[in-house]
């Protein structure tokens, strides 16, 4: 692939694809100030998959909203390729926890809605929509309405809608949080395959530690009150993408202890891993 060559040729060696510098965000609720984010620093490289974990209320969704450009009232700096984010744009897509499909449009039209401002011809748009419905395995459901879909299917449509614009950044805000465990495991694999296939840079917010370790190249751990980054753990090559691998379990336990959750002592696999280490 010519990817890395192209990047160095453009001289993008130093500046990161996404750079969050000293970002703080306050809300005032009923006259009281709530510090949602405090001095956030995070740089994400092209093609990277970053997982963010943290208890609820620690500002994860707020951070994604700022990156999207939905809210520009904050301190600090958020830059994409060195340009400050001023407003939402088709280079940044999001999948919310709820699918947010428009109920009056069918699956196809929901995905196509993301291309309305793309300037592409109707034929090009149709092809992109078909490709992406195929990518999430829903070719058969193009004409169905959201009310006829299961939660997992609806979320796959939302993923297709987020990717159909070929965004540079895919932001995922607990996208699988509302799904049952089996569907979630299946969609994690699907998400991984799709993001690799499209070469998208991804930021995934989740409260499922397994998911964070399984999908992320790095894991950002956040603490609440005020929302801040506690640490960033790399997912090294030694950690295979096998949920029962000792290295996987060790990293998962490390994340859990950063989150203030005691290690899973009764987990035989974890015990074994620790003894053999």
């Amino acid at each position: 692939m010519s990817g890395p060559v192209a990047i160095s040729a453009k001289g993008r060696g130093k500046s990161h694809a996404l750079e969050i510098t000293d970002v703080s965000k306050k809300f005032s609720v009923a006259g009281r100030q709530v510090q949602a984010l405090s001095h956030i620093h995070l740089a994400v490289d092209e093609g990277e998959f970053v997982s963010i974990v943290g208890s609820s209320g620690c500002g994860k969704s707020t951070l994604l909203r700022l990156v999207l450009g939905l809210d520009t009232d904050y301190d600090g700096d958020i830059r994409v390729d060195g340009h400050r984010v001023e407003r939402p744009g088709l280079d940044r897509s999001i999948v919310f926890q709820e699918h947010r499909l428009l109920p009056w449009l069918n699956v196809e039209a929901n995905v196509a809605a993301a291309l309305r401002q793309s300037g592409l011809s109707a034929a090009e748009r149709g092809e992109l929509v078909r490709d992406h419905l195929h990518l999430v395995g829903l070719d058969q459901f193009a004409k169905a309405h959201p009310a006829q879909l299961s939660g997992g299917m609806a979320q796959r449509v939302a993923i297709a809608r987020a990717l159909v614009t070929k965004p540079r950044f895919l932001l995922l805000d607990e996208p699988l949080g509302a799904l049952d465990a089996l569907t979630r495991l299946r969609l994690q694999d699907e998400l991984q395959r799709i993001v690799r296939h499209e070469g998208t840079t991804a930021v995934l917010v989740t409260h499922d530690v397994d998911e964070a370790v399984y999908l992320g190249d790095r894991i950002v751990i956040m603490h609440p009150h005020p929302g801040r980054i506690a640490t960033v753990l790399p997912v090294t090559a030694a950690v295979s993408r096998d949920r029962s691998d000792p290295n996987f379990i060790r990293l998962r336990d490390e994340v859990l202890s950063w989150l203030g959750v005691s290690r899973t002592g009764n987990d035989a696999g974890a015990e074994l891993a620790r003894r053999s280490a």
Partner: protein, 280 residues
């Protein structure tokens, strides 16, 4: 014979199963219609019995068969038909104008907080004045011709359409508005893909109220300033103590109103056909 057919039918298990969904779809509608007929038929029966027993003085409430005869006569000699056509035309024109302007104005007011702050107090005050209260002023300005009827009917339809449309537009879920921003929608896309589809139920509530208002105003305005139409027929019948004429005009007004209402509901259901079937 009948029993034989029944066994033959129940023998075909497959075909019965295949027909079942259709039955279920048709029966609720038919059932609702049947239930809706219970009270009117009961009243009609009571009315008939009371008339047969001579309990009702004809000057107060003529017996149903006389009303029915009057209805038939009016249809045959064309007098009822031409009144109906005149009134229908007035309501259609007034309602169309009022609803159309109301939709545009209501959407604009719903979308723009500034516009809302400008017009809300005045509009609320004006809408409190009964339509008939406007009549003397409108007569002074446009006279007593067709223009008067269209304006007054239009105004009475306009008010609920504006109120409901602007409410519906304001109630668009924030999550969808945000989605529109994430997808970089233009104003037009936002309006057609998000705001209007989401406001459909409110808009149709407004249209239904507007239509009912339109009919009521029609009758009132024809009582005062007309020499034809269903409202005029009622006023005329009352003056001549021909209550069967009044009643037959009332029946026509009621039936047409019901038909319009049904038409609006059908349109709304068609626009909202994406809705999941709700358990009854």
């Amino acid at each position: 014979m009948g029993a034989g057919q029944a066994t033959a039918l129940s023998g075909h298990g497959d075909s019965t199963a295949g027909a079942a969904p259709t039955h279920r779809r048709i029966f609720p509608a038919a059932g609702a219609l049947a239930l809706g007929l219970v009270v009117p038929l009961g009243l009609l029966t009571a009315w008939t019995v009371a008339a047969l027993l001579g309990q009702l003085p004809e000057q107060i409430l003529p017996p149903p068969w006389i009303v029915f005869d009057t209805l038939l006569e009016g249809i045959q000699d064309g007098s009822l038909l031409s009144s109906t056509v005149t009134s229908l035309k007035r309501v259609a024109e007034g309602f169309a104008a009022g609803a159309l302007v109301g939709l545009v104005f209501g959407t604009a007011v719903g979308l723009s907080k500034t516009l809302r702050e400008f017009v809300d107090p005045l509009f609320l005050a004006l809408s409190q004045v009964p339509t008939l209260g406007w009549m003397p002023i409108v007569i002074l300005i446009v006279g007593i011709d067709e223009g008067l009827k269209i304006i007054v009917i239009g105004w009475s339809a306009f008010i609920p359409v504006v109120l409901n449309t602007s409410q519906g537009v304001r109630d668009v879920p924030e999550a969808y508005v945000e989605l529109g921003r994430v997808l970089s929608f233009s104003r037009w896309s936002k309006l057609t893909m998000i705001v209007l589809p989401s406001a459909i139920p409110s808009i149709f509530t407004g249209l239904r109220e507007g239509l009912a208002n339109g009919w009521q105003t029609l009758v009132a305005v024809e009582l005062i300033a007309s020499f034809e139409g269903l409202g005029y027929l009622m006023a005329y019948g009352r003056q001549l103590f021909q209550l069967e004429l009044v009643l037959s005009a009332m029946i026509v007004v009621g039936l047409i109103g019901l038909a319009f209402h049904g038409l609006l509901t059908l349109t709304e259901n068609h626009l909202q056909r994406w809705r999941p079937e709700t358990p009854r």
